[in-house]
Symmetry: C2
Subunit: 355 residues, 2 copies
C-alpha cells in the first residue's frame, strides 16, 4: 500500500482537474491510497462524482490555500501549519503519507518543504529534478531552478541525488552521469564543475557510471541518464528546450495548414501526427521532483490537465515503490565514507544553512 498526500488547491485549475486526475490513477494502481487536503466546499463536490476514488481516499478540510502568486515568504507566513500545501507536506513528515504532490507555486512549495522536511543530513541544498524526454527515452536533469549557483560539493550531491532518481524510475543499476559544461577548449568550464568532475571520477561509485562533461545538445540526445548542473543554467536549459519545442510545433501547424496539398497530407498522416504530438507532449514528463529532503515532494506544472497531474502522481508512486530515499541515503553514506574530505571540505556557512 502506497499513500500519497495531495494538495488539491494548487495549480491553475484546482480540484476540478486534480480530483479527476486522482480518479484516473486510482483505477490504474489498486494499491494506492490518497489523503486529500483542500477546501471542503470545492473538493467535496468533485469527490462526490468519483465514488471509486472516494473509497480509497481520506479528505481533510483546510481553511487556507496558498495562492499561485504568493511569494515564498508570504506563503510561509499565511500558510504554515494550516494550508492544504503545508498539510500535504506535513503528512510525509508524520509518515502518514509516503510522498506529496502539489501543483501549487514552486517557490512556496520548496520553502515549505525545506522548512517542514529539512534537507538530508549531508545535503546542503535541495535540487529540483526534471524528467527530460530524449531521443533515447528519458533523462534526469537537475538542478532546474531550486537555487542559483552550486559549488563542487553541491554538484556531487546533485549527481548522487539524480542517480538515485534514475535508478528508482528507469530500473538501471548504474546510470550514466554527465556534468553539463561548455566545450571551449582550454578555458573549458567553471572551476566548480571541473572540481566536481574530479571528485566524481575519484569516487568511482558502484551505483554511478560517471561519464565526464556533456554539452547542451547532449541532453536531447540522451547521452547520459543523468545530467547535473547548477540551477541557473539548468533552468535556462529547461525553459529554452520547452520554448524551442513550442516554436517548432508552431512551425509545423503553420506548414500543415497553408496549402490544400498539405491539408490533404495531414489527413493521411494524422495518426503519425498524433503520435508525434504525444512524443512532444510535456505532460508525459510532468513534474519537478524535489530531491535532497527527508521526504518525496513532486511539483506538477500549474497548468497541467488531469493526465499531466496523474503522470506526476505516478512518478511519485514509482519513486516510493522503488525506495528512492533509501537508495539516496545509502549512496550518500558510501560517498562520504570513502570521501571524508568531501564532507569536511564543506564551508561552515553552507552547513549552517540547514538550520
Amino acid at each position: 500500500m502506497i499513500k500519497i498526500s495531495i494538495d488539491a488547491m494548487g495549480g491553475d485549475h484546482g480540484p476540478s482537474v486534480i480530483i479527476p486526475a486522482l480518479a484516473k490513477v486510482a483505477t490504474r494502481r489498486t494499491d494506492i491510497r490518497f489523503i486529500i487536503y483542500g477546501r471542503e466546499e470545492v473538493v467535496r463536490p468533485e469527490l462526490a462524482k468519483q465514488p471509486r476514488l472516494a473509497a480509497v481516499s481520506e479528505f481533510v478540510h483546510c481553511e487556507v490555500a496558498v495562492r499561485m502568486d504568493d511569494k515564498p515568504s508570504q506563503a510561509l507566513r499565511h500558510g504554515r501549519w494550516k494550508s492544504s500545501m503545508w498539510k500535504a507536506i506535513e503528512a510525509v513528515k508524520a509518515n502518514t503519507s509516503d510522498a506529496c504532490v502539489s501543483a501549487g507555486n514552486t517557490g512556496a512549495l520548496m520553502a515549505m518543504s525545506k522548512f517542514c522536511l529539512r534537507t538530508m543530513a549531508t545535503i546542503d541544498r535541495p535540487a529540483i529534478a526534471a524528467l527530460w524526454p530524449t531521443a533515447r527515452g528519458e533523462s534526469v536533469v537537475l538542478d532546474v531552478g531550486a537555487t542559483i549557483g552550486a559549488d563542487a560539493h553541491q554538484l556531487t550531491d546533485f549527481a548522487i541525488l539524480g542517480t538515485g532518481m534514475a535508478r528508482a524510475l528507469f530500473g538501471i543499476d548504474r546510470p550514466t552521469v554527465g556534468l553539463l559544461n561548455v566545450g571551449v577548449e582550454e578555458i573549458k568550464g567553471q572551476e566548480e564543475v571541473k572540481e566536481a568532475g574530479r571528485m566524481l571520477r575519484e569516487a568511482n561509485m558502484a551505483s554511478m557510471n560517471y561519464q565526464g562533461f556533456v554539452e547542451g545538445d547532449d541532453i536531447g540526445k540522451g547521452t547520459t541518464d543523468v545530467v547535473v548542473t547548477e540551477g541557473f543554467s539548468g533552468n535556462i536549459a529547461l525553459k529554452t528546450a520547452e520554448g524551442t519545442a513550442r516554436q517548432i510545433a508552431g512551425y509545423l501547424r503553420e506548414a500543415m495548414s497553408r496549402t490544400l496539398m498539405a491539408k490533404i497530407g495531414y489527413i493521411f498522416a494524422k495518426g503519425a501526427f498524433d503520435r508525434l504530438r504525444e512524443k512532444m507532449d510535456v505532460r508525459r514528463a510532468n513534474g519537478g521532483v524535489f530531491l535532497g529532503l527527508n521526504g518525496i515532494v513532486v511539483k506538477s506544472h500549474g497548468g497541467a490537465d488531469a493526465d499531466g497531474f496523474a503522470a506526476a502522481i505516478e512518478m511519485a508512486y514509482d519513486m516510493v515503490r522503488n525506495r528512492l530515499l533509501d537508495r539516496i541515503e545509502a549512496d550518500l553514506d558510501l560517498f562520504h565514507a570513502r570521501n571524508p574530505h568531501a564532507a569536511m571540505g564543506r564551508p561552515a556557512a553552507a552547513v549552517e544553512d540547514q538550520e
Copy 2:
C-alpha cells in the same frame, strides 16, 4: 565596395566548400570583393573553377593552416603572423578588408582576434553573438560562449554590443533588449544580473528599449530582439535548443515513415515539409559574430556547407554596410558619458585584461 577577408582553410571541408560559397555570394552582391587566404595547392584549383569569383578576388598564399583541433595557445604559437586565419584577421586590422570570415576553430579564432584586433576601448571582454531563429523572426543572443561568467558591467557591455548588431542586421532603430534570468520569485537571479538590469534601466538609452528580465522560453518566442546573458548559460541555451530541434526532427522523420498512410501523407505534404525543414535549418542563421573587438569577425560553423558559409559572409557584409562598429562606438560613448560610474566602477584587473 565592401571587402571581406576569408580564411579558406577553416572548417571541416576547407576550400572545397568555402570557394563555392564565395562564388554564390559574388553573384548576389556585386559590390563585394574578397581577399582569400590559404594554401595555394588546394585553393587555386577551386578558384580556377569559379572565374566570376576569381575576377573579384585576390588570393594570398599562406603556408600554415590552423587545425580544427588546435588549442588556442597552440594556434597562437604556430599560426601567429603566418597562418591563413591570422592573415585574414590582420587584413581587418590593416584596413585592407572590412570584415573577416572563418570556419576555423572557435577558440583559436577568438584568441587570434583578441590578440590582433584588441577589444574596444571601454570593453573588458568580447562576446560571441548568435542570430537565433524565433517564432517572430530572429533575435541576437549573446554571449554564447566567449567567456564564462560576467559581472554587471560586462553584461551592460554585451547589451550595447547586441543592440548594435540588432540595429545593423534588423534595421530597427531601438531594439528591445532582455536580460536572461530565472523566474524564481524572491531569489530571482544573480546579483550581477539584477545590477545590470538597474544600470540599463537608469541609462534609458535612445538606441535601446530595455524590457527587463526574460526566461529561457522567451528566446524561441522572440520576446525581445536581443537576449543578454553570460557565456556559460548562453552556450548551454544555444546547444540545448539545437539539440531539441534535432530531436524533434528525428521524431518527425520517424513518425512520417512508420505507416503507409503516413508515407502517403508525407508525399502530399512534401512542399510543406520542405518549407518546415528550411525554417528549422540552422544554416540560415549560421555564424557567431565576435563583438567588442576593433573589427568585425564572423565565425561560421565548422560543418557548414556552401549555403551556410555564404550566409555567414552575407551577415558580415550587412554589418559592414550598416556600419555596425560606428553604431556600437557611439552607443558606448553615450552610455559611459552618462554613466561615468559604470566605467569607474570596473575592477582594475578587468581593465588590465585589455593589455
